[in-house]
């Protein structure tokens, strides 16, 4: 089991994380955040392997991963 937390207010919507997630469980949120960017969320946390690729590729250090 793994856990991923995303700081949505810090996110700038570059979507690198979506791109690299091997499980393809990250998607763009419908709502914009305060700064006007489209942040990401995880659709199915169960599937997450905690590989942390998403976090590694996040330029804004928005993601923490537990495993």
């Amino acid at each position: 089991m793994a856990k991923v937390s995303i700081d949505r207010e810090r996110c700038k919507g570059c979507h690198f994380c979506i791109e690299v997630c091997p499980k393809k469980i990250m998607v763009v949120e419908k709502r914009y955040n305060q700064k006007g960017y489209p942040p990401v969320e995880i659709t199915d946390m169960e599937m997450c392997t905690g590989c942390a690729l998403c976090a590694e590729m996040c330029p804004d250090v928005c993601i923490r991963v537990w495993r």
Binding site: K12, D60, R64
Partner: protein, 250 residues
């Protein structure tokens, strides 16, 4: 459950000013990870260069001095000569390092100054709005090469890693990218290596990171990564160009 990926300790919590998808953020984090790895936060001193890297002191929780545009290696030299036991580093852009700061970087490397320079090559002047840089690729349209960079008029994109590797004073010279996880992992290793070299007094260490500037390239972050892979890496080959084995320098 264990926290397997966390914000580096030497990086403050402040959100960055970088544009969405800018590789500056990744590079900054990798540097912070290297600092954490060797537990250098309290012994290291940063030199802020002038470019999108200038706000370094807002992010790194270490002592920092700001250098004039292009002069970070000279300022770092001043710091290091006073504090030979401290770890001194700078993150410089391609305008900063390869244009106005050419003399400083070459002579700092040539002196074998025992410092670490991370070179963010994004083929443009990011902070000032996307002008042509010395590393701008042939044909690349920028605000000051509106018809595309033309070698007859503007010369060729300059390969700094290769040039610095030829100097006797350099100890470690590598070129990496952070466009995708595999490259990023190598970049992480190289940046760490650069700091190790300094720690061990090997001399000048230098990591060129091919980087994106989605804003001034007028591309989406994803397309910018593709450009790094498809256009930049072929002209600026990745790899370790020099690696001193023993501190013959000492």
């Amino acid at each position: 459950m264990k926290l397997v990926f966390d914000h580096p300790k030497s990086l403050k919590d402040t959100p960055s000013h970088f544009c969405p998808g800018c590789h500056h953020g990744l590079i900054q984090r990798l540097v912070a990870e290297a600092i954490d790895h060797y537990e250098l936060q309290d012994t290291c001193i940063g030199v802020a260069s002038v470019g999108c890297s200038v706000f370094m002191y807002n992010y790194f929780d270490v002592d920092v001095v700001e250098a004039p545009h292009g002069r970070a290696p000279a300022v770092a030299t001043g710091v290091k000569r006073v504090h030979p036991d401290k770890i001194v580093f700078s993150i410089q852009g391609d305008g900063d390092l390869a244009a106005i700061g050419t003399a400083e970087i070459i002579h700092t490397a040539n002196r074998g100054e025992n410092i670490t320079i991370i070179f963010v090559n994004n083929t443009t002047y990011g902070m000032t709005g996307g002008q042509m840089a010395p590393t701008t690729l042939l044909g690349q349209v920028t605000t000051t090469s509106p018809y595309g960079r033309d070698f007859q008029q503007d010369g060729y994109p300059i390969r700094m890693a290769e040039m610095l590797a030829t100097l006797e004073g350099s100890a470690y010279v590598a070129r990496v990218a952070v466009d995708k996880p595999a490259n990023l992992m190598k970049a992480k290793k190289s940046i760490r290596e650069a700091f190790r070299m300094q720690k061990e007094g090997m001399g000048f260490s230098f990591v060129e990171v091919l980087s994106s500037c989605p804003t001034d390239w007028k591309m989406s972050p994803g397309d910018a990564c593709k450009r790094v892979e498809e256009e930049m890496i072929p002209y600026f080959p990745l790899g370790v160009y020099k690696e001193r084995e023993i501190a013959d320098h000492l």
